[in-house]
């Protein structure tokens, strides 16, 4: 028993160092993550004259209502596109007949594209489909004038097209483990019982995948909702999104008090907390079908 006792003593002697590191981590998190968030909450209900609901009420102003609407539409649209397209692509390359090279090509490309976002992505699309973009000009020479037909990259549909470039790969990455967990035995059992592929998907495949698909959708929603750089570089803040409106207040582009920016931020945080709560709940349900390792 002696060495074990000695170890315990040693452990206790080392513990102060351990608490130093753990304490430092908590201190940094408290000072630079929790405190700024709390500061936003305070700022959103305290003005120069003390307590006020004016800032929260200003979220109902036309300008900010539109911003929240735009952000929600863009997030819902791009998350839905990402979920459907990403799910279909992941399913296609995970099929037994799919060549292995294709599978690894899609996996690694997804990793790159999901992380290729922000300003460079915006400029890649401006070079392609901007009003003077290469594809726009080429199609124009062929007699197809996209911008005359009502398309614009600098609009909500245009932003959806750009956001899909990171949303689809994000979904492929998120959904792949869930599709891999679909057991071939289920498919075979359905086949043996005379089910058509459509029936298999309607009655077995999709119900099993549904929580993972929805959890993925919610993560995509969150990633689009909090996106700022892509939209800013693409539209220079001309399309009101919640993120760009916050930055307009911060940089003094609009004559608004900081309290308005804080109220907008608090509104975003509330939406994101809701998103997280739903996704954890769904994630727990999805875990039922993934094999225990």
């Amino acid at each position: 028993m002696a060495p074990r006792g000695e170890n315990l003593i040693r452990a206790r002697v080392r513990a102060p160092v351990a608490w130093l590191f753990i304490g430092a981590f908590f201190a940094v998190a408290a000072a630079f993550m929790v405190a700024p968030t709390a500061m936003l909450a305070v700022q959103s209900i305290y003005g120069d004259d003390g307590f006020t609901f004016a800032f929260i009420a200003s979220l109902g102003d036309y300008r900010y209502r539109v911003a929240f609407e735009n952000s929600l539409i863009l997030s819902i649209a791009s998350a839905t596109v990402g979920m459907i397209a990403g799910g279909l692509i992941a399913h296609a390359v995970l099929r037994p007949g799919a060549p292995t090279w294709l599978r690894s090509a899609v996996t690694s490309f997804s990793a790159v594209a999901a992380n290729f976002a922000g300003v460079p992505l915006a400029f890649a699309f401006i070079a392609t489909l901007g009003s003077l973009g290469l594809l726009t000009t080429m199609l124009k020479n062929l007699g197809i004038d996209l911008y005359a037909a009502g398309f614009s990259l600098y609009s909500i549909p245009g932003l959806t097209l750009v956001y899909s470039y990171f949303q689809i790969p994000l979904m492929i990455i998120i959904i792949t483990p869930a599709i891999q967990a679909l057991r071939p035995a289920w498919r075979e059992a359905a086949d043996n019982l005379g089910a058509s592929p459509g029936q298999y998907w309607r009655m077995v495949g999709l119900p099993v995948l549904a929580p993972s698909l929805l959890a993925g959708w919610i993560l995509l929603f969150g990633s689009a909702f909090s996106a700022y750089a892509t939209a800013y570089a693409l539209t220079s803040g001309n399309i009101g999104l919640v993120t760009t409106e916050i930055s307009n207040v911060l940089s003094g582009n609009v004559m608004e008090e900081p309290g308005t920016g804080a109220a907008l931020s608090v509104g975003m945080i509330v939406v994101m907390v809701g998103v997280l709560l739903i996704s954890t709940r769904l994630g727990r349900r999805a875990a039922r079908w993934t094999p225990r390792r």
Binding site: I22, Q43, I84, V93, S108, F109, P120, Y228, L250
Partner: protein
Amino acid sequence: MSAPNTTPNTTPATTTPARPRPPGFGLAGWAVLLPAAIYFLLPLIMTVTFSLWEGHGQYGFAAYRALLGRPELPTSLLLSLELAVATAAALLFLLLPAMIFMNLYAPRLRPAFEFIATLPFVVPAIALVAGLSALFTGPDWLIGSPFYLVIPYFFLALPYAYRALDVGLMALDLATLTEAAQSLGAGMGQVIRLVVLPNLRAALVGSLLLTLAVVIGEFTFANVLLFRTFAVFINQVGQHEATEAAALSVVSFLITWGAMLGVLLVGRGSAPVAGAR
């Protein structure tokens, strides 16, 4: 030309109706993948072509040469690289030891760690920067230095780095390993350096490469706090010089690609995702 229009048939389309399943990839598979390939590759091809355009049907490397002539290119790229290294150091010396010690001595604190690691997801980058600038108006040596950005970048990388390290640490029987090493006379420093770190290599290299990709592309914090990092430089160039901006997009795609290739080679093929978009 958006992706959903290209895949009009939903679920049933992806499976071939024939009962004895054909070994091939099938028409349905290509019907999904071909439009996707066009959507994903076309912007890249167009951007590369655009970056080589010199006007009047001429193609060449003029945009790249013009970029190299800009003094802000090396300074902004260097600043972003320095910030990436500093953020990686913060993860190594602040997050990693705290996580190891939490696992060893205070597993009851795990929910608190999980909570902190989730916060950056709930508080979007633009909201965090609003909070930071409301709270900290000084001292100047802190908020005036570009290395102030390391603080938000640490939290930007935190959710992914925490997840990766947590998976790595859970796979180790940390208590037994530590006890074994200590009974052989190792101190805590030696335990971490010689036993824990080598076992966490894949998780660590993966997190650090991802941090590199995220920090180099990060725009939100740097733009609002007015520091001239690589992404801010790209945006600035892009407002005036379209071909040079395309060239910079190509360069930053290659940087992301290199970092991800490293992650995939080191890790076991699971693709990481992080950062603010």
